[in-house]
Symmetry: C2
C-alpha cells in the first residue's frame, strides 16, 4: 500500500504466459494500492548494446573508448542518453523491482541483460569505494519461466546455480535485497489446467509479498 514497484518485462508477446504473469502482477499490486510502473523492453525497443551513443555530450577519451569509465562520468555530468535517465528514475523511485522474463540459454534474454548493462551505471547503482551499494533499501524479485520441466532442474540445486550470477551484482554491488525467485516451469508444455494453477499461485504469492523476508543472498543459499 503506497509502495512503488517497477516491473522490467522482457517478452515479445502480450498473450504469452509471461504476458499473463505481468498482467497479474500489475492488477494485483495496483489493487493493493501500490503504484506500478512497467518497462516493457521489447515494446520500448530498448537498446541492449553498450556503446558510445549512451553519452550525449563529448567523451572523456574518444581515442580509447572505455564504457564503464565514460558512463560513470556521463552520469555525474548528467549526460547519459535519455532512455537511461528515464530507467534510472524509475529504479530510484521503486521500492521493489520485479524482473519478468523467459529463461534463454539458462540466463536472461539479451534485451534484459542490456538493461542491466546500461542502466546500472557506476555512480548510480554502485560505487566500489562505498561498500554496500547505492540502491540499498530496495527489493528485487526474479520471476521467470523455463523451457525445461522442474524435474530437469531438480538435481543438485540446479536452478539456484543459474540464479547466482544473475542476482549477484544486484546484491553484492548495488545492495538490493532479493526475494525468493518465482519460477514457472515449462508452461509451454503444461496443460491448460496446470497453467491456470501456476497463474493463481502467482496471484496468491503477490497477496502476501510485502510480508516476505529476503532470501539469504549468500553463496550458502545458492549452493546448498
Amino acid at each position: 500500500p503506497g509502495k512503488k514497484v517497477l516491473i522490467v518485462y522482457a517478452h515479445q508477446e502480450p498473450k504469452s504466459f509471461n504476458g499473463s504473469l505481468l498482467k497479474i502482477a500489475v492488477e494485483e499490486l495496483t489493487k493493493q494500492g501500490c503504484s506500478v510502473t512497467v518497462s516493457d523492453l521489447y515494446a520500448m525497443q530498448f537498446e541492449p548494446r553498450a556503446t558510445r551513443n549512451d553519452v550525449v555530450d563529448g567523451l572523456n577519451n574518444s581515442e580509447v573508448f572505455n564504457y564503464g569509465m565514460e558512463s560513470r562520468e556521463a552520469y555525474q555530468r548528467g549526460c547519459l542518453s535519455k532512455d537511461l535517465v528515464e530507467e534510472q528514475k524509475k529504479v530510484q523511485e521503486a521500492d521493489l523491482l520485479i524482473f519478468q522474463f523467459p529463461l534463454y540459454w539458462f540466463n536472461m534474454p539479451a534485451i534484459l541483460k542490456g538493461w542491466m548493462d546500461r542502466v546500472l551505471v557506476p555512480g548510480f547503482a554502485y560505487d566500489l569505494s562505498k561498500p554496500g551499494g547505492l540502491l540499498q533499501g530496495k527489493l528485487c524479485l526474479f520471476s521467470f519461466t523455463t523451457g525445461g520441466t522442474k524435474e530437469k532442474y531438480a538435481t543438485r540445486g540446479d536452478i539456484r546455480y543459474l540464479l547466482w550470477p544473475m542476482q549477484r551484482g544486484l546484491t553484492q554491488f548495488c545492495g538490493l535485497k532479493v526475494l525468493e525467485p518465482h519460477i514457472c516451469y515449462a508452461p509451454e508444455h503444461a496443460s491448460e489446467e496446470k497453467r491456470k494453477e501456476m497463474l493463481t499461485a502467482w496471484t496468491q504469492r503477490l497477496k502476501t509479498l510485502w510480508k516476505e523476508e529476503p532470501i539469504d543472498g549468500s553463496p550458502e543459499w545458492y549452493f546448498k
Copy 2:
C-alpha cells in the same frame, strides 16, 4: 593447420585489452595456418533482440508470437534474417569458436548474449528430440577479462560458478566440447608489465591449443 576458427568478439574498442587479445588470436592462429573469421559484434552493430524481424517471410502464428517456434520453422524454410544465416554459416564451418569479451555483471555482455539467443536456433544448433546436439565435433573457448582481481574470484570455485550457465547450453544442447576458459583478471588495474605478461600468456597458450583436451563439462568440474 587447416583448421577453421570463428572468433565472436564483443568489445567496442580495438585499442582495449580485449582488442589486443583478439589481435593476438587472429595473428597466432593465422600463423599456424588456420583460417580465422571474426564476428566483431559492435562493429557489425549486431542486433541482440530476438524479435519477429528475424523471420523474413510470414509468421506461422502472427496472433501469438512464439520466438522459439517461429525461429525453428523459419530456419527450416530458409527464411531467417540474413544476419543470422551468415552467422550460422560461420558456425557451421568452424572447428573452434572463441568467445572474446569483458565480463559484465558476472556474465557476457548483452550483445554477445543476443548472438547466442538469435544464432543458435533450434533445428540448427540443437534438436531436443535428437540428444547430443547438432554442433558436435566442434570446440569452444571462453576468453574473457574481469573487472575484479583474481583474489576476489578465488573463493569457492567462484569463476566456475559463472561459467556453468554461460557454457551449459553449448555443451548440453548443442554438443560442443569446451576448452579450459582463458581468463585475464582485472587488466584495467594491472601494471603495464603485468598486462604484457597476460598477453604473452595468451600467445603461448594458443601455440599448443590444438593439443588440449576439452574440460570435463560435467557439473563436477564446475562445482569442485
